[in-house]
Amino acid sequence: MRAISLVKRIEFEFSGNVVRNALTLGDVDNDGCNELIVGNQNGEVAIFKGEERIQTISKLSFVSCVAVGDIFNENRNSLVVVTADGWCFVYAAPEVPVDSADVIEVDEGIEQTDGQIQSTSASGSVETLVSDTSKQAKKDDKFQLLCVHKQRIPANAKNILLGDVDGDGMIEMVLGLTDRVVRSYRWINNSNKSTADIAMDADLSFEYKALGKFTALNKWECANQIGSITLHHSFDGKASLLIAQPGGTFMRIRCSTEESINLSGVENSAPSNSSGSQGETIPGSVDYQFLGISRMRNQNISTEILGDLKCSLNDSYASTSTQKSDSSKSAVKGRPYAVATLDGTIMAIAVDHQIFALTKLDVTGNGCDDIVVCSWDGQTYILDQEKNSVRFHLDQPVQGFASGYYNVKPDKPAVTCLVYVTFKNTVILYYDIALKEFICKNFEPDPELLSELFVRDGKTPQEAMEIVTGMDKKTKKRTCRISLIPCKTLRQFIQIFI
C-alpha cells in the first residue's frame, strides 16, 4: 500500500486523557476560521487557534463529548460540551467583544481566561499577561468564549451529533449514551428575553446568558452498545440517523414528520438493493440493517458509521457504487455511507490494525469525501470512494483522532488537517495534507507528442505515428528520457540514434 509522510505540523501541549468524541474542529468564535477544541477527562477544554492555545476552560468534570454547531438556531456557532456525569454546557463567543477584564467573574470554568490572554505579537510561545484593561481593550479580535448555558441531562453520553435530524430546518442535538440509549434535544428559547443580550449579562456571574433550555424530543433504545451516530440523507433529501451497532450492523431512525414516516415504508425497499444487505423493515421509523460481509458479522466487535459522504455525481461513479454495494451501500444516486468495524474492516478493505476512528475529509480536493480512519498505533488510512488507499503512520500511539479543516493563519483559507491526540501530552496537527491523487502512475508520454519527434526527422505524420505505436516499452521509455534533455543535445541524439 502506498504510504506518505507529512511534513507540515503543529504540536500543541495538552495533558490528560481524551476520549473518542472529545475533540472537534469548528468555527467556534464565528470569525470564519476553524479552531480545534479538545477536552480531557480532567475537565479541561482547550481551544486552539492558529499556532496557539487561545483559551482553556477548566473545572468541568470528565469531558466526554465536544461539538461545534448552531445549536441556538441563530446562525451562529456555539460550543457544546457534555460531561460524562450529565452536564451539558454551551459556550459562545459574545457578539460584541467584551472587555476581557469582565470575564474574570464568570463562574463556569472560564476562571483562568483572564490570566491567559495571549498577546498578538506572535512570538510563538504563550505569553501570560497580567490583566491590563487598557491593553486588552484594543484586541478586538480576541474572543473569549463564555458559558451561556448549563443544563443537567442524563449521564453517560458518549456520542454527540449536532444536526437537523428531522428536516425542520432547526439544529438538534443528538446524544448517544453508553447505556444504549439515543436521545435528541432541541433548544427552546425562553421568549421573555432574547439571547442577544449575552454581552450585557457578561458581568453577571451566576446568571446564564442564554435564556431557554434543551428540551428532550425523542429517546430510542438500541439493542446493543452504540458505536457511533451519524446523520445521513437519502437520495430524496430525507434525513435519517444511523446508529452503529456491533458486528457491522446499524439502526436507522427516521425522525421526520408524520407524512414522511408513512413514505418511509416505500423508501425502505430502495436502498436494500444490494444482494448482501437485508433490511429488517419495521413499520414506522426505525429499521435495522446489516452488511453482507461475514467478516464483519461478529457481534463482539464495535462498529463505526459515517454518513453523507460527498461524491461527485457522475456516471462513472454510478457504476462503481453498484460494484461495491455490499460494503458501503449507497442508495441509487444518493450519497454513500461508510461502515467500519473496529477490528479493521473498512468498506470491505481489511487492515491489520485495530481502528478506532472513522472520519471523512476531502483530502485530495476533488469534491469527493475520502474516508480517513485511524488506529490506536497511529496508522492512518486514507481511502477514496473507489477503495484506493494511502497510508500514513504517526509513529506513536494515538488516543484521539479527528480530521477536518483548520486555519493555520487567519488570513489564509482553511486547509485539510489530521489531528492526533497522543499519550505524550501533545496534540499533533498535520495540516495542508499534500495528497493530490491516490494512485501513482508511471509517466506515459502522449503518442502524438512522440510522433512529432519523428515528423521533425522528416517522416510523414502517419509514418511517425506508426513508429511510435510500434515502439516497445523500453524504447519508448528511452525516447521519453532523451526528449527531456535540452534541445541542442536532443538534436544530436536523434541524429545519432533514430
Binding site: S5, K441, P486
Partner: protein
C-alpha cells in the same frame, strides 16, 4: 521543487547513515533500492506496475547472512559485474560488538550469486557471503573499475571495492576468481592516489574520463582535508594533485562534469557509450563540490584546468543545520545541473546556477525527518527520474508531477528544429 509530489514513504526500523543507501540497476533497466539501517535490517524497495497501470510500491526485508545479532551496519554498496546480465555483488561493512567491551570486530561481507542467472534474486545473493576480516573501523564503501592496460589496449575492466577506514588509509579489495575470495591489494600498484591521510577518509568520489585513460579522484577527510588527483591509468602515475583544508568535518565530495550528455549515454546505452565519450569528454569541464557539515558548501569549477583555485561558496539560508549529503542533477530539465543539498534541519536545498549571480538558493523543500542521503534515479522505471531521499526515519520517494512533465516534453519537442534540414548541411 513544487513539481515533486510525495509518491511513497517507507519506514526503516532503525536509523541509517550517509553510507547506507545504494541502488541496484538491473540488466533489464529496472531499478531497485537497497537501504540498510544500523540494527541489521536491510530492505529492498522497488516499484511494480499493476495491470491497471498504477505503481505498487513494495518493500521487502532481506536477511543477509553472516550479520550476527548485535552487529551494526556501517556502509553498503552494490554493483553489477555484468553489463548484459544480472551479476550483482553487494558489499556490507559491519561492526560486531563482542562481549569484551574493548574489542570490536569489523568485517566486510561481500555477497554475490554463485552463478550468473537471468532473473535477479536478492535472497539468493544474500545467502552467499564472503567474509573479509578488517582490522580497522570501516567508513565509506564504494566500488570502481580497475582497468588493465597493455600497450594502449584496454585488457580488462574489473570491479573492485574501495573502503576507507579508521586507520587513515584507503583499502582496495579485489576478487580472486580462481580462489573465490576477495583479497586486499596494495594501493601503490593500482591506486597510487590513496596514500596515508591525516584523518579517516569520509567520502571518496572517482570519475573516469578520456576513455578510462584518466582517473580523477577526490576524497575528503574527517579533519577537513580535501584532495583532488588526476591519475594516468596506463602508467599508473599521479599526473597532478591538489589539496586544501577546511576547518570542519566534511560529509561529501562529488565530482561532476558540467555536461550531462556523456553521463546520459553511459547509463543508457553501454554499446554507444565508449564511442561517444571519447569525443565528448575533451571539452567537458569537471567540477568538484565539497559539502562541509558546518561551513557553507564549496564548488570548485573546472578543476582539470584551474585546480582548486576557481571556487565559490554555495549560499545557505541558515547557519545552524548540518549538511549531510548532496545530489547533482538536472531536476528541472533545463539542461543545467542543479545542486541538491540535504541537511539536518529536515530540508533539501535546491541550488541553481545563474550566469549573472552565480549559484543561488532557489528553493527549500521540507522533509519529515533529517536528511541522510539523496538520489535522483529512475526507481519507477518510466524514463523520468524520481528523487529518493533517505531520511532518519525512512525513505521518501518524490515523483515529478506528470502533468508538469507532459508540459516540459511538449515545449521541448515543439521547439525542436527540423532535423531533416540539418542533415543536408
Amino acid at each position: 521543487m513544487d513539481h515533486f509530489k510525495d509518491a511513497h514513504y517507507f519506514y526503516i526500523p532503525s536509523q541509517g547513515n550517509i553510507y547506507t543507501m545504494t541502488e541496484l540497476k538491473l540488466a533489464n533497466g529496472s531499478m531497485k533500492l537497497l537501504v540498510a539501517s544500523l540494527k541489521r535490517e536491510i530492505s529492498c524497495f522497488e516499484y511494480q506496475e499493476s495491470p491497471t497501470g498504477s505503481l505498487v510500491p513494495t518493500t521487502k526485508e532481506i536477511s543477509f547472512t553472516y550479520i550476527p545479532n548485535g552487529a551494526e551496519i556501517i556502509s553498503l554498496d552494490a554493483f553489477n559485474k555484468s553489463s548484459v546480465a544480472n551479476e550483482f555483488v553487494v558489499g556490507i561493512t559491519i561492526i560486531k560488538n563482542s562481549n569484551e567491551s574493548d574489542s570490536l570486530e569489523t568485517y566486510l561481507n561481500i555477497y554475490s550469486e554463485w552463478e550468473e542467472s537471468e532473473d535477479f534474486n536478492i535472497e539468493n545473493i544474500a545467502q552467499n557471503c564472503l567474509n573479509v576480516e578488517l582490522n580497522f573501523i570501516p567508513y565509506k564503501l564504494l566500488h570502481t573499475v580497475l582497468v588493465g592496460w597493455q600497450d594502449d589496449e584496454c585488457l580488462n575492466k574489473e570491479f573492485v571495492f574501495i573502503l576507507s577506514g579508521s586507520d587513515h588509509q584507503v583499502h582496495i579489495y579485489r576478487e580472486h576468481t580462481s580462489e573465490h575470495v576477495y583479497k586486499e591489494i596494495d594501493n601503490k600498484d593500482y591506486f597510487p592516489e590513496f596514500t596515508k591521510t591525516p584523518s579517516p577518509v569520509i567520502w571518496i568520489d572517482i570519475y573516469y574520463s578520456q576513455d578510462y585513460t584518466e582517473r580523477i579522484t577526490s576524497f575528503a577527510c574527517e579533519c577537513g582535508y580535501v584532495k583532488l588527483l588526476k591519475v594516468d591509468t596506463k602508467k599508473n602515475q599521479v599526473v597532478y594533485n591538489f589539496s586544501t583544508r577546511f576547518g570542519n568535518y566534511i560529509s561529501r565530495v562529488q565530482i561532476f562534469p558540467e555536461d550531462e550528455v556523456s553521463h546520459l549515454f553511459k547509463t543508457d546505452d553501454s554499446e554507444h557509450a565508449t564511442k561517444r565519450e571519447s569525443k565528448k569528454d575533451s571539452p567537458n569541464k569537471i567540477n568538484l563540490v565539497v559539502i562541509n557539515t558546518i561551513l557553507p558548501a564549496v564548488i570548485f569549477r573546472n578543476v582539470l584546468e584551474f585546480g582548486l583555485t576557481h571556487y565559490s561558496t554555495l549560499p545557505r539560508h541558515d547557519s545552524t543545520s548540518i549538511m549531510t549529503c548532496c545530489e547533482i542533477a538536472d531536476i528541472d530539465f533545463d539542461g543545467e545541473k542543479e545542486i541538491l543539498i540535504g541537511n539536518s534541519a529536515q530540508e533539501i536545498m535546491l541550488l541553481k546556477h545563474d550566469t549573472q549571480k552565480g549559484w543561488c538558493l532557489e528553493d527549500v523543500k521540507k522533509i519529515a525527518a533529517p536528511v541522510l542521503g539523496i538520489k535522483y534515479i529512475d526507481i519507477s522505471g518510466d524514463g523520468v527520474r524520481e528523487l529518493v531521499i533517505l531520511g532518519m526515519k525512512g525513505v521518501h520517494v518524490l515523483q515529478h508531477d506528470s502533468s508538469h512533465i507532459r508540459q516540459v516534453l511538449q515545449t521541448k519537442i515543439q521547439s525542436l528544429p527540423n532535423i531533416s534540414q540539418l542533415k543536408i548541411y
